[in-house]
């Protein structure tokens, strides 16, 4: 579809980004808890133009059996993108990128879930990216936390997630697709606000030590914003209109 032209202005003289946001402003975020009938827990998130659906099953029998652990339940995560979720049609088979993201999301959720009460079982988290627009892993992680809570899995805290980054020599919150492609750094952050624990952290791009510190802080602040929306989503399902849908 042709390379991106350098005419794209990532940050104009008034400090406004290419999609009209300020440097510390996240995209529009909408989270809904529940929605899937068959899943034990589910969530849907729209994070800018990202649209992601998450379903959680379990604790349930482990298949294949050799994966089970006699001391604790196990967590399994599959992050998957639909063929129509991106510009060029994506091959539906899992790519190396998707396998890696599945792993980092799993490791971001593990500190939150309490599975030792469910030995020999598995909790399966299925993440389906319906439309992708930069920052899917953060949006997916935030939605997965809500889906796990919706499934009634005991948790120490919810994991909130948001990316920070650098474009046009400025630290920005919530990197979009254009900024990811043309910007200088992208740092996805997963964070448990009540426990003050960062459970996901990646970076590609170049940051000075000062910028790095600022970037993490901006990312964590973004997570706190997302956290409120996650709580709101659960609240809307369980504490209004009598709850169960």
């Amino acid at each position: 579809m042709g390379g991106r032209e350098s005419t794209l202005v990532l940050l104009d003289e008034n400090g406004i980004r290419c999609d009209g946001r300020k440097v510390d402003e996240p995209r529009r975020i909408m989270i809904k808890a529940g929605g899937l009938k068959n899943a034990d827990g589910s969530a849907y998130i729209e994070f800018g133009d990202n649209k992601i659906l998450v379903g959680v099953f379990g604790p349930r029998d482990v298949h294949p059996k050799h994966m089970s652990n006699t001391d604790t339940g196990i967590l399994r995560v599959r992050y998957h993108m639909e063929p129509f979720s991106v510009g060029e049609r994506k091959n539906p088979a899992p790519s190396r990128r998707e396998i890696e993201i599945s792993k980092v999301i799993k490791e971001a959720l593990l500190p939150a879930v309490i599975l030792d009460k469910f030995p020999r079982t598995a909790v399966d988290v299925f993440i389906e990216v319906l439309q992708a627009d930069g920052g899917t892993r953060c949006a997916a992680l935030a939605a997965a936390s809500v889906a796990l809570a919706d499934a009634g899995i005991p948790m120490r805290d919810m994991v909130a997630a948001c990316a920070a980054g650098k474009a046009a020599d400025t630290i920005i919150l919530d990197v979009n697709n254009e900024e990811d492609q043309a910007g200088q750094a992208d740092m996805p952050v997963g964070y448990m606000p009540n426990l003050d624990k960062i459970t996901l952290l990646q970076l590609d791009g170049v940051l000075s030590p000062e910028e790095f510190k600022k970037c993490v802080k901006v990312g964590v602040d973004g997570c706190k914003l997302v956290y409120e929306l996650q709580k709101k989503a659960l609240h809307e399902k369980y504490f209004q209109n009598g709850g169960d849908q």
Binding site: K37, N38, P92
Partner: protein
């Protein structure tokens, strides 16, 4: 969805008991499909898309259009391919990994219904004869299961294709080159609608839900086009239909198909 449980067996006797009185568990008439809700353009990044709910069964179809090489013996025709996939979040019994025969059948039946109706006019999808054509990929995913995936997937594909905007390419020395701002509607000729009917005992029900699907003896999916022709058919399941039953199914598919075609048309117009 071949998994059977004791619960299914218990439900089957109740379902049969009700059918003998001309009733269904969810209160529908025997020839009445569930409510179809269509949200077109649910995936703006796709060239066309639709999110369809058939009762509690929910599917999403995204259409992607890109230049492709023609098949060797069909240089004057574009490519249309339709796939369907059951996502693991749609039901606890769905596992990741290569598709099982049920899912392969699903994808092929849905593809056949749309293809055989000649809905997509592939002769209009040629960029340069024998060299380059337009490929239309309709990928369908099932996100929630409550029976009758055939029809839910078919409606999603149809609605998404009706909603598709096709970019334009021109042949240059570098191969097919995108012409900016020259989108047009995908050339379509008709609106195929599939109707699936299940035989439970000696009753025929239209649009079986999950419980009915688990209880049925056999099923038939019949696709009709806008002119009321039957364009594709697929029988499945371990029992058979009598000739009279099949003829009745044909009539049912035309009758129910007409209503659903209107629903799809209106949803695309409104979206």
């Amino acid at each position: 969805m071949a998994q059977h449980s004791v619960i299914d067996d218990l439900k089957k006797s109740k379902i049969l008991e009700l059918l003998d009185q001309g009733k269904r568990m969810d209160g529908r008439g025997l020839d009445e499909p569930r409510k179809v809700t269509v949200e077109v353009n649910a995936i703006p990044k796709a060239n066309g898309s639709a999110r369809v709910k058939l009762g509690d069964t929910e599917t999403i179809c995204g259409v992607k259009i890109q230049p492709d090489r023609p098949f060797p013996d069909m240089g004057d025709k574009g490519i249309f391919i339709c796939t369907a996939e059951l996502l693991p979040l749609s039901h606890p019994s769905v596992e990741t990994g290569p598709p099982n025969p049920d899912v392969i059948e699903l994808a092929r039946v849905v593809d056949r219904g749309v293809r055989e109706s000649h809905m997509v006019d592939v002769s209009e999808l040629v960029i340069e004869k024998n060299k380059s054509v337009v490929g239309v990929f309709a990928d369908i995913v099932v996100v929630d299961y409550d029976g009758n995936l055939f029809d839910a997937c078919s409606y999603a594909a149809t609605a998404a294709l009706l909603n598709t905007k096709m970019p334009k390419w021109e042949m240059t020395d570098d191969g097919p080159t995108l012409v900016e701002g020259a989108e047009s509607d995908l050339p379509t000729t008709t609106i195929p609608v599939s109707i699936t009917m299940a035989k439970i005992g000696n009753h025929i029900v239209v649009d079986p839900n999950g419980d009915e699907w688990a209880s049925m003896d056999c099923r038939v999916t019949i696709t009709t086009d806008s002119d009321g022709n039957i364009v594709a058919m697929q029988k499945g399941g371990e029992d058979g239909f009598t000739l009279d039953e099949i003829i009745k199914c044909g009539d049912l598919s035309i009758k129910a198909g007409t209503q659903i075609r209107e629903t799809l048309k209106n949803a695309v117009k409104a979206g």
